[in-house]
Symmetry: C2
Subunit: 116 residues, 2 copies
């Protein structure tokens, strides 16, 4: 059994033209012995966003806290505390923080995908 608080994991900061204000953590991954899927926790600062992109693996997402939106199927949808999302393989998506507090969400990928 591996137990930790997600905040104890060192965050990777991402801030460029397409992805702004992101702190990303692999909290349960291959190094922990997770063989089938990988848990990451993302935090977006107010105004932050992930890139609008698509890839060959799915996401399973749970919103822990904050206020934002997710783009998919050609429109933006509310992305709030308690929202869950399945982003299917090859589906274009983007997440943004439209609130005034940090947006924190859990995002899982299969172990065939890059962990970060």
């Amino acid at each position: 059994m591996r137990i930790k608080n997600f905040t104890d994991v060192t965050a990777t900061k991402i801030d460029n033209d397409q992805a702004r204000g992101i702190s990303a953590r692999v909290v349960i991954g291959r190094e922990d012995g997770a063989e089938n899927f990988c848990m990451r926790v993302f935090q977006l600062a107010p105004g932050g966003c992930t890139p609008k992109h698509a890839h060959a693996w799915e996401h399973e997402i749970f919103v822990h806290e904050g206020d934002g939106g997710i783009f998919g199927n050609g429109a933006w949808h509310p992305f709030l505390r308690g929202t869950v999302v399945l982003v299917e393989a090859d589906e274009e998506h983007q997440i943004r923080n439209s609130g005034t507090e940090t947006l924190t969400f859990v995002c899982l990928v299969p172990s065939t995908a890059p962990e970060l």
Copy 2:
């Protein structure tokens, strides 16, 4: 893309000799098109607990809110907002709510396991 709030999914209530005060929801599963792993959300009432058991698949857990403990490796460990846990296959484990509010956690299993 499938988007919902976890509270919009019908809960299965579990209350017996070994598992008390549980509301369990499959929030992203086979019916949604999730092929590799399944997201469930569990809520334990104050005093509630999951059974002490082991099985042939792993859990990846994220604690959304509340105050409790998880048993593993022969001892109880704090299980609080932001705690993440990898329970490995065949490892005995149990979760309890030792607080005064509902304990809510996300728990993922590979698609080879029962969804609930």
